[in-house]
């Protein structure tokens, strides 16, 4: 084998294809593996021990696991925009040209040097509290090191898809349990989706030497998959991780379509310039399943002992997988430590390939199960009642310290004994606490230590589905709790660790799920295969193997490898008073890594429980949350990127604005012209010019985006009178009225002008951004509180195009294109509405004004919008009509002191705060009990609440900076005296502009008790250290008597 440079590759066996060598590189070093390898197995085959450095201490780390559980071998593939961080080398399929990078250079050790040794539990909290200088020092380092990879630079070049799927039975996990469950459900006639994260089905069988029906397990897997494929209603998803279980049986599955082929899918063949990938890299399946079967298996739990992070310490099951599935022997002499029979399989596997087994160290006093007997028969030394207390070695294991263990009888309390007595299957087991050394350690030589501390069912999805995990002393594991959704766990995921039991549970779960989805009678109809798996003797619950020194003084005993959390950290947290497992998690960072503590959770809880003198059941486990393994943002976004991220709304005149090179402002989803710069014009120049056109001549604005609600019915007036604070019962036909809409708490929700179009027909205007919210609000009252009112609401916002003709010349311009409406001031006064023809099109013309100038808002059906716009521009040519945008509109309205809801208000202002008390009618007086109470308006009762009457409430005022050209930043705070903080905040600036008409800056502000402070000088400290002084003035800066809009 050395011919291919893979010194640790076995000559035969495994599920790899030796005829297909693949070149790859790791941290720049070129190597070769085979098709069927993962990056992890290829690295081991090439003799790579060191796959990363630990996060806090920079300790060398090697591979521990073989799947989703791997905490150390976290790699980034590729570089630049297409790079993918946070991948577990154990789940990366090897492909030709793969280039992987470890995070070895990113540890804090490298960055902070020796300081990293001083990072105990709670380091983050303790350091970041004080002094502040130290926090800033650490923040810089942590920000550089945070996470274990770097985000890709630039937009993701790949394509991602989303599928919405429905099925009767979703089976998660394609191991023996899941395969049988899927086949049973499919046989009953159910539509089935079977998803597995691996590139082929079989789960644990892919790495097993067990025989089924007298042949290799792989043959049974192949036959079962072939049978599943005969069902047209069965969908088989490989390389597909069910990573989230959401409400109402909604499961999200990430399918990796091309990741195993290379970084970016090949561009479409035609056209070398094309960068569009030919196929989506990943698919997000959003599956709504009537029933689910969680056959997610179990993860082996490592034993915690001193220096257990030295490369060469692995999970027993992982070692077996590397040997059996990938034909790799990552060492020569194996020392196996176990608490259970299953671990012996790894020693037998190692022996089968002709390697040396130093010994099996079994914590149980008298292991004599079938597998232990097989091991002894094979000549393997079994050291019973012992544990590995420490690994020996630096960059690679050189030996182990082994010592006899004394297991104390009984539990820490009577309460716990009572619980044990209730264990359902009554299996023998040992208590968690009370393990101590019974004699001095001795050293054994080895270059590989495999440990098995039992199995932890993969209950992540079950927990996400609302099942509260239940600790079982017999299984020495947290088992899935009572499900809150239409789901069930089966097989190893449910704590069944024997193959026969898994197969039976899978079939039962498949039958039950199918029946509840409406298929079959719930009975198992499959003939289950025979298998040669021997019965296993009871295991021992053991988590932390004691050292000769106390935990706080022993060499580090790592619990969470990814975040360097040790047993000593957990004990420290307990000593410092932490009791809740969720708090300890946050204090120590246990389980906070990208692996979510797949290997560390149960060990951590057990060690914490022992430190607190409690049982594991009473200590509990932390929540599992989506995603089970990291998911790329691209997959979640799918095609909803770029122009498809969010729809844009365009007015009928949009293309004209575009041709005029308008600068856009996004208002809600609308694109509105902000201003129309002429060549060489800065924004302020353009805005000044547009404002002056309106003040001195005539301007034209596209106001189509204003929300419009058509209100009809005999009770329309009554309805309006309830939802608005003003007097709407008295509004005459053809008249307009400004209204304030309040929430029930008396604060301003929206404002706008309502037009009475006919006897029982009104048009209500909302602010542009609030149109949908106002409509829903009105519908809510109409449908829920006042179903008796005969009134109907229709949103007509985009039925109409609106052009506002504003300025002293507005009447003259409109006259050019409108002959059938008398536009004179007497016939068509301010705040009235007329219908007629404008430019030969049917139009509604409203004399309302948001600029304080003479203004006609011309509304035509949307399809005539551009025609109207062109006609008005042509008619206005002689008057030098100018289009103006939202910025000029803002300046013009601020000059008049007109507020914008949402800019000058923030949802806490009453009408009086804004100086709009005039728009509120008095609420009805308390009446005689005999009279039917009249409905006032929404929010009326709240206006008299004590807090709304407080004299020091902020009120709307104007501010004039003493330096006329200085424009205050919006949001600037207002204080009484310039000086060093702390100072009393008196209010803040809500709107601020330079006014060309006044040739100075103007601002609107909310100032405490502001209306009684006219003439006072206040101060605005700025972010740059300067302070601007300003005088408190009326918010109406221009035409205070309001004469110009009435002409």
């Amino acid at each position: 084998m050395p011919a291919n440079g893979q010194p640790r590759r076995l000559a035969a066996g495994g599920r790899i294809d030796r005829s297909k060598p693949l070149n790859f590189s790791f941290d720049g070093r070129a190597m070769q593996g085979f098709a069927g390898d993962t990056l992890a197995s290829a690295l081991l085959a090439n003799g790579v021990d060191l796959v990363g450095r630990s996060f806090k201490h920079g300790r060398p780390r090697g591979l521990i696991g073989q799947g989703a559980e791997e905490p150390n071998a976290i790699v980034t593939l590729g570089e630049g925009a297409a790079s993918v961080p946070n991948l577990r080398a154990t789940q990366v399929e090897l492909y030709e040209g793969l280039a992987a990078h470890s995070g070895a250079k990113r540890s804090l050790k490298t960055l902070a040097g020796a300081c990293a040794g001083l990072m105990p539990a709670g380091f983050y909290y303790k350091t970041f509290m004080r002094p502040k200088r130290l926090w800033m020092f650490w923040e810089r380092l942590l920000r550089r090191a945070a996470g274990l990879g770097a985000p890709p630079a630039g937009p993701d070049p790949d394509l991602y898809d989303k599928f919405n799927q429905h099925c009767d039975v979703l089976v998660v996990g394609g191991g023996p349990t899941g395969l049988v469950a899927a086949l049973q459900a499919a046989g009953a006639g159910a539509r089935v989706i079977l998803a597995d994260e691996q590139p082929e089905f079989g789960g644990s069988l892919l790495a097993s030497t067990v025989e089924m029906n007298g042949a290799a397990a792989a043959q049974w897997v192949a036959e079962t998959v072939a049978e599943l494929r005969t069902f047209p209603a069965v969908q088989l998803l490989l390389r597909s991780t069910a990573f989230g279980y959401h409400d109402h049986n909604f499961v999200t599955i990430l399918e990796r379509r091309t990741d195993h082929l290379g970084l970016v899918a090949q561009p479409l063949a035609q056209g070398a310039a094309s960068t569009v990938p030919a196929a989506p890299r990943q698919r997000l399946h959003r599956v709504r399943a009537k029933q689910t079967v969680l056959a997610t298996g179990a993860l082996e739990r490592p034993l915690v002992f001193a220096n257990n992070d030295v490369p060469g310490v692995m999970l027993a099951s992982a070692l077996s997988a590397y040997v059996n599935r990938y034909a790799v022997a990552p060492g020569e002499r194996l020392l196996l430590c176990t608490t259970n029979d299953n671990g012996y399989r790894t020693a037998l596997d190692w022996r089968r390939i002709g390697r040396e087994v130093t010994a099996v160290v079994d914590s149980r006093p008298q292991p004599d199960g079938a597998l232990a007997q097989q091991a002894r028969a094979a000549g393997i030394e079994v050291i019973a009642g012992h544990g590995v207390i420490a690994a020996v070695g630096g960059k690679r294991v050189r030996g182990a310290l082994v010592a006899p263990l004394r297991i104390a009888a009984g539990g820490p309390s009577d309460k716990k004994s009572a619980k044990e007595a209730q264990e359902p299957n009554g299996a023998a087991h040992w208590p968690v606490a009370g393990v101590e050394l019974a004699g001095p350690p001795r050293r054994l030589d080895c270059d590989l230590i495999a440990s098995s501390g039992g199995w932890s069912p993969t209950i992540h999805l079950s927990v996400q589905a609302g099942g509260k995990p239940v600790w079982s002393d017999a299984a020495a594991a947290f088992l899935p709790g009572e499900p809150r959704q239409q789901t069930r766990s089966a097989g190893a995921a449910a704590g069944a660790f024997g193959l026969r039991e898994c197969l039976l549970q899978g079939a039962q779960a498949g039958a039950a799920a199918a029946r509840l989805a409406g298929f079959g009678d719930g009975q198992v109809s499959l003939a289950l295969p025979d298998c040669d798996a021997p019965a296993e003797a009871p295991q021992q619950a053991l988590f932390l193997v004691p050292h000769t020194k106390p935990v706080s003084q022993a060499p580090p005993q790592f619990v969470d490898m990814q975040l360097d959390v040790t047993a000593a950290d957990l004990e420290l947290a307990a000593r410092e008073g932490y009791q809740s497992v969720e708090h300890v998690k946050r204090y120590t960072a246990l389980g906070f890594g990208t692996d979510q503590g797949k290997l560390s959770n149960v060990n951590g809880v057990a060690i914490l429980a022992a430190a607190l003198g409690r049982s594991i059941a009473d200590t509990g486990v932390t929540m599992f949350r989506p995603a089970y393994t990291p998911v790329s943002f691209g997959a979640i976004a799918g095609r909803d990127v770029g122009g498809l991220f969010d729809p844009e709304r365009h007015t009928p005149m949009h293309s004209w604005h575009e041709a005029r090179e308008a600068v856009w402002e996004d208002v809600g989803r609308w694109k509105r012209p902000r201003h129309y710069p002429q060549p060489g014009e800065a924004m302020q120049d353009a805005v000044d010019r547009e404002c002056l056109a309106v003040r001195r001549g005539v301007g034209l604005m596209d106001a189509s985006t204003l929300g419009k609600i058509d209100i009809q019915g005999p009770d329309a007036a009554l309805f309006l009178n309830r939802v608005y604070a003003g007097r709407f019962l008295q509004l005459g036909v053809g008249r307009c009225r400004y209204g304030l809409m309040l929430k029930e708490d008396g604060t301003i929700f929206d404002d706008g002008v309502t037009v009475r179009l006919g006897e029982s027909r009104y048009l209500l205007h909302t602010t542009t951004g609030n149109a949908e919210a106002v409509f829903a609000w009105l519908e809510r009252w109409r449908q829920t509180e006042w179903p008796e009112l005969k009134v109907y609401l229709t949103s007509v916002t985009d039925h109409w195009a609106t052009a506002a003709v504003a300025g002293p010349q507005a009447r003259e311009v409109l006259r050019q294109v409108c002959a059938d409406i008398d536009l004179s001031a007497q016939a068509f006064p301010f705040m009235s509405a007329r219908q007629g023809q404008v430019a030969g099109r049917p139009a509604r013309v409203f004399r309302i004004s948001f600029s304080g100038e003479l203004c006609f808002e011309v509304n035509v059906p949307a399809q005539h919008g551009q025609f109207l716009w062109d006609a008005l521009l042509e008619a206005g040519e002689a008057f030098e009509i100018r289009p103006y945008g939202t910025e000029a509109m803002h300046v013009l309205r601020a000059e008049k002191g007109f507020i914008i809801v949402g800019q000058d208000t923030d949802g806490t202002q009453t009408p009086d705060d804004m100086g709009l008390g005039w728009a509120v009618r008095p609420s009805p007086k308390p009446q005689d009990a005999s009279e039917a109470p009249a409905f006032g308006f929404i929010g009326d009762r709240s206006l008299s609440l004590a807090d709304h009457q407080r004299p020091d409430r902020p009120q709307l005022v104007g501010l004039k900076t003493l330096a006329a050209e200085a424009v205050l930043p919006e949001g600037a705070q207002i204080v009484n005296e310039p000086g060093r903080p702390p100072v009393d905040m008196q209010g803040h600036v809500t709107s601020s502009y330079f006014s060309a008409a006044l040739n100075r800056s103007i601002a609107l502000a909310m100032l405490r008790n502001g209306r009684r402070r006219m003439g006072e000088i206040v101060h605005c400290p700025l972010a740059d250290g300067r302070t601007l002084a300003a005088q408190v003035v009326s918010p109406v800066f221009y035409d205070p008597k309001g004469e110009r809009q009435h002409v």
Binding site: H246, D247, H248, F250, R288, G466, R484, Q485, E744, D745, A776, E779, R780, Q783, T784, E785, P787, S923, P924, K925, P926, Q927, P933, G936, D940, R941, S942, L945, A946
Partner: protein, 89 residues
């Protein structure tokens, strides 16, 4: 993501189509001016925070636009009943 059967459209649709409307059966006091500040404040700000069956309003915002009532278990999120405005659960 919940699935809700609109009692007007008679279709089981995804939560994305609906807008939450807060607790149901909260009656607006018929004559607010007669209430003390405290009584009015109770109506404004206080709602049940039920563990278990909870009556709430939803609006089929992207569908028929109508409000209706849902009886939902706040622990399991199971929708126990859907019924039109004006009905009792």
């Amino acid at each position: 993501m919940l699935q809700i059967r609109c009692p007007y459209c008679h279709e089981l649709r995804s939560e994305e189509e609906f807008a939450y409307g807060g607790e149901a059966h909260v009656r607006r006091p018929p004559h607010p001016p007669a209430l003390t500040d405290r009584e009015w404040g109770d109506y404004l700000h206080f709602r049940h925070n039920s563990r278990g069956a909870h009556r709430e309003m939803w609006r089929h915002a992207a569908g028929c636009g109508r409000y209706f009532n849902v009886l939902r278990d706040t622990v399991s999120y199971a929708v126990l009943k859907v019924y039109p405005m004006g009905d009792e659960p």
